[in-house]
């Protein structure tokens, strides 16, 4: 059977130091049975997972610090199919900020973006840290805004995979046939040029000499 691959652009949002990047690193470095070696470039982290016989390739964009001074670019949000809005369960300020990011996403991103609200650092609770954001508060906000909700620990890995699996399951996945026909239809409308697919010098020369 043909396994289809769906690419998902996923963006991270949240206050600095809530551990949003750590969640991603935990996800991409975990020893998932089906996972391939994660790929890193200057652009984004990528990681593939298999969900119900479909392969989902996450393209995970980190803010690179541009969120600190309200300086994210429109390109960050564009065409994102999923977003993680992360807060720290021991810091109520980060939960207030998470509300702002959810609002920002609804204004800037596409309407059908799938948003997961993630309360991170639950490992701190076992180490004597005091919970400042009740689980019920997170659940309530998620229910109000139609978000997925998870509480995680990037440190221990608890629930990290569930976040991405939950998003993957919610993304409508196409069968191989549907994907082929959809991409054909898209290509005929708007051809996209792949900058990595240049003709090399030899064929260029032969074309000239025709």
């Amino acid at each position: 059977m043909n396994t289809s691959v769906t690419s998902i652009k996923l963006v991270l949002l949240g206050e600095a130091a809530v551990g949003k990047s750590s969640i991603v690193l935990r996800f991409v470095s975990n020893d998932f049975a089906e996972n391939k070696e994660p790929t890193i470039g200057a652009a984004f982290l990528t990681q593939r997972v298999t969900i119900n016989e479909h392969t989902v390739k996450f393209e995970i964009w980190d803010t690179a610090g541009q969120e600190r001074f309200a300086s994210l670019a429109p390109m960050y949000y564009r065409n994102a199919q999923a977003a993680l809005v992360v807060y720290d369960v021991t810091k109520p300020q980060s939960f207030i900020k998470a509300r702002h990011w959810v609002k920002e996403l609804h204004e800037q991103a596409s309407k059908d973006i799938i948003i997961a609200l993630v309360g991170n650092k639950i490992d701190m609770l076992q180490e004597g840290g005091e919970r400042k954001v009740a689980r019920e508060e997170g659940e309530k906000l998620a229910e109000e805004k139609g978000l997925l909700f998870f509480e995680t620990s990037a440190k221990t890995g608890e629930n990290v995979n569930d976040v991405f699996l939950g998003i993957g399951e919610k993304i409508p996945l196409k069968t191989a046939e549907e994907q082929n026909s959809a991409s054909n239809e898209r290509e005929s409308n708007n051809q996209r040029v792949d900058l990595n697919a240049a003709n090399d010098g030899t064929s260029a020369n032969s074309a000239c000499s025709c």
């Binding site: 600095a16 130091a17 990047s21 750590s22 690193l25 470095s29 070696e37 994660p38 790929t39 890193i40 470039g41 200057a42 652009a43 984004f44 982290l45 980190d62 803010t63 690179a64 610090g65 541009q66 600190r68 001074f69 309200a70 300086s71 670019a73 429109p74 390109m75 960050y76 564009r78 005929s188 409308n189 708007n190 051809q191 996209r192 040029v193 792949d194 900058l195 990595n196 697919a197 240049a198 003709n199 090399d200 010098g201 064929s203 260029a204 074309a207 000239c208 025709c210």
Partner: protein
Amino acid sequence: MLSPERRPSMAERRPSFFSFTQNPSPLVVPHLAGIEDPLPATTPDKVDVLIAGTGMVESVLAAALAWQGSNVLHIDKNDYYGDTSATLTVDQIKRWVNEVNEGSVSCYKNAKLYVSTLIGSGKYSSRDFGIDLSPKILFAKSDLLSILIKSRVHQYLEFQSLSNFHTYENDCFEKLTNTKQEIFTDQNLPLMTKRNLMKFIKFVLNWEAQTEIWQPYAERTMSDFLGEKFKLEKPQVFELIFSIGLCYDLNVKVPEALQRIRRYLTSFDVYGPFPALCSKYGGPGELSQGFCRSAAVGGATYKLNEKLVSFNPTTKVATFQDGSKVEVSEKVIISPTQAPKDSKHVPQQQYQVHRLTCIVENPCTEWFNEGESAAMVVFPPGSLKSGNKEVVQAFILGAGSEICPEGTIVWYLSTTEQGPRAEMDIDAALEAMEMALLRESSSGLENDEEIVQLTGNGHTIVNSVKLGQSFKEYVPRERLQFLFKLYYTQYTSTPPFGVVNSSFFDVNQDLEKKYIPGASDNGVIYTTMPSAEISYDEVVTAAKVLYEKIVGSDDDFFDLDFEDEDEIQASGVANAEQFENAIDDDDDVNMEGSGEFVGEMEI
């Protein structure tokens, strides 16, 4: 001269997270900002380089410096990225026009704006449109494209092909005969003309080495050269100079025109049967965002809504409007539009670029190649009823480029004519485009069901009686529905040039040595405003010149080495190193006072 030792790049300075995994051969990957240690919540106290303005040149420079290992703070007084290269919504344009006309945006004048009520309170919203302040096209073989690949910034972007370059002549838009094959098959060209064209094309691809052919004409005009040396006539001469070379007037010199014509020809068939690309969602505004993101990943700090107030070269402290300060150990780079109050060193901006941007409610797909959403239309000298001496260039973008909704189209018109004649030329070009579109629209007889009948086997038969009646009653249709018109004059210190020359970007070299008491910008370096150049060629040259001033050499400009699993697995993928530079700018700038630069750098 003594080249300062290159600082270890960011990738070398800090080990990647994956160095600690069990991977036996860790990938050579850069440190991703914010991944390992949370970034500070305040702006840095001290940086190597401060850059004000997030236009194309400043953004490419920021990325090059960040990946080279410099500590960069990159700010913009606007609340959006792009500055002079920005892609703006209609509401942002409205605000921008007000700022231009009240004088708070320098280097722009005479902004006039019409917005239909259909935008905002009608069927379209402000965010449906992305309007470029300095629209540009990307040649397939060019410095910037090489850098986009090398830096991986292209992965943030989407590109589409641009095939159609039209020449306006005798009230028609003639499509270029681009290829040798098209020249051979063009029924309208005499055989002798075809031979002469083929001869010229063979020459121009290797023109520098054939000095005996062009050197006697080096100081003469290209039209003389083409007419006398290759026996080409006016239509071919105009196409080569203005539609292929994208030159501005008939005074263009031979070496400059040859360089530009070759740029087009060598860009053909690199990615397909077209010479140029356009980025979706906006042109320079998108690319600026991409390079800014790359710089941020490489460690640069970004802050919008941050306005520079002054820089003191003695204490090396820059002060911002919100009261914060930063010590800048090496250089302060400022876009002229971001010059602080009481600045005295902004270079003179003596050249004008006149621009008109229109949004038309009409899909206008006749001008595009199949599957494309972009086209160039060129109005050569003398082709307009205004008697234009300079070219008017029209860059057309449709809905497929995602900068405007379905059923609408954006026309970017520009000219290098100076003074009041410029607006006359642009108005004449706009009228010509409007009339051409109306003529093409009215030829759709198939839409009139009373005239057209279908026979049993599906063939179309025009009802001759109805047709006659219809023509008698023919009344010209209403004029086009314009949703938006924006006219402005942009000033620049860069003259309309034939070939990008790095010396154009050294305008403030002498100024750096002067100290003016009370000036808020002593000791800074200014970048240049965009010129009329429709390609990105000037961007890389300008960024390299600045990079060399800061670092001391441009040898490691975007000297990056990312490994990518997909890239390794793919077979036959071109390496960025294989791309030739379309514009030869290997000559280093003459570094007068280079000893002074070395002394100033704390490396």
